[in-house]
């Protein structure tokens, strides 16, 4: 089941980031989450979406602030001087929302999941939020022209 979920998440991330956010990407199989956090130097934005139903857990999406600003610019087709904090946070939450919805619906078309509203999280509490969310995890490091990104799913059956 975990492999099927992993495949669904991987293809959802590709499709969503490329189609809606114009991010060309490749997955970095050897990527390390701790290195990623350290390289962001504290300038990391993250969001979480909790879900329940036939499967329960949380989706997380992480992006350095500068990368997220570029993604927001591309998403909204606006220059960065007209972009507000609301736009950036909204874009971050929308990415998480789309990855979650798309992953779960392609994982099981018949199942019904209840998705909560995505929220921006304090990245200093990342390990705490990781622990609370479930006992299984799927993690992706993503390389893009804009910079490195990460996505994570924690779940319990």
């Amino acid at each position: 089941m975990k492999n099927r979920l992993k495949a669904a998440m991987k293809s959802s991330i590709s499709e969503i980031l490329e189609t809606m956010f114009f991010v060309s990407l490749e997955f970095d199989e050897s990527g390390n989450f701790d290195d990623f956090i350290q390289s962001a130097n504290g300038n990391l934005s993250a969001s979480r979406l909790r879900f329940g139903g036939d499967l329960s857990g949380s989706f997380f999406f992480y992006a350095p602030e500068s990368v997220l600003l570029t993604i927001t610019e591309n998403f909204l087709a606006q220059d960065r001087y007209s972009i507000t904090k609301n736009h950036v946070e909204g874009t971050l939450k929308e990415i998480t929302n789309m990855i979650a919805g798309s992953t779960l619906s392609s994982f099981d078309k018949q199942a019904l999941f209840n998705l909560n509203i995505p929220e921006v999280i304090d990245t200093n509490r990342k390990f705490e939020s990781f622990d609370e969310a479930g006992n299984e995890q799927i993690f992706f490091m993503i390389n893009s022209l804009e910079g490195r990104l990460a996505a994570k799913l924690t779940f319990s059956i």
Binding site: M20, L76, N97, G101, S102
Partner: protein, 148 residues
């Protein structure tokens, strides 16, 4: 009633709790052949109901997952209201499960669009829905002419 077809002066209410998503939906619709459409915005179902009480709207495009009142509740509220029940509602959602889609249609949604979407998908859906309105209007105006 606003004129549909030709100049495409339709009024579309976009309901989504995400400000960037509302902006992207509006831009996508504009590049999909509806450049002269007028837009109203609401950040949840409750706000949308208030807008619908005060403004003429040809089409509602709503997110499903929103705080306060979600897209499904919005459709139910609209269907309970005699003046609003005929306004078509298009649901934009990340959730593509068959069960959820059937639920939207059962509640009375005119269609749904799954995110991520392309301008082509938006164009096709809008043409289908707004084309139907146009056809109904043609029939209505023809009947009015006959009555006259």
């Amino acid at each position: 009633m606003p004129k549909i077809g030709g100049s495409m002066a339709v009024i579309i209410l976009v309901v989504d709790d995400s400000l960037p998503m509302r902006s992207v939906i509006i831009k996508t619709i504009k590049v999909s052949g509806y450049g002269s459409a007028n837009f109203l915005q609401a950040s949840n179902g409750r706000e949308a109901m208030r807008t619908l009480g005060n403004e003429w709207v040809d089409l509602v495009i709503t997110d499903y997952n929103m705080p306060d009142m979600d897209g499904m509740e919005l459709i139910s509220e609209m269907k309970r209201d005699e003046t609003l029940r005929c306004i078509p509602v298009l649901v934009v959602t990340t959730e593509g499960s068959r069960t959820r889609v059937e639920e939207f249609i059962q509640k009375g949604a005119a269609g749904y669009i799954q995110k991520p979407f392309t301008p082509e998908v938006i164009r096709t859906k809008l043409n289908n829905i707004l084309g139907e309105i146009k056809d109904e209007e043609s029939v209505e105006s023809r009947n009015e002419e006959l009555d006259f």
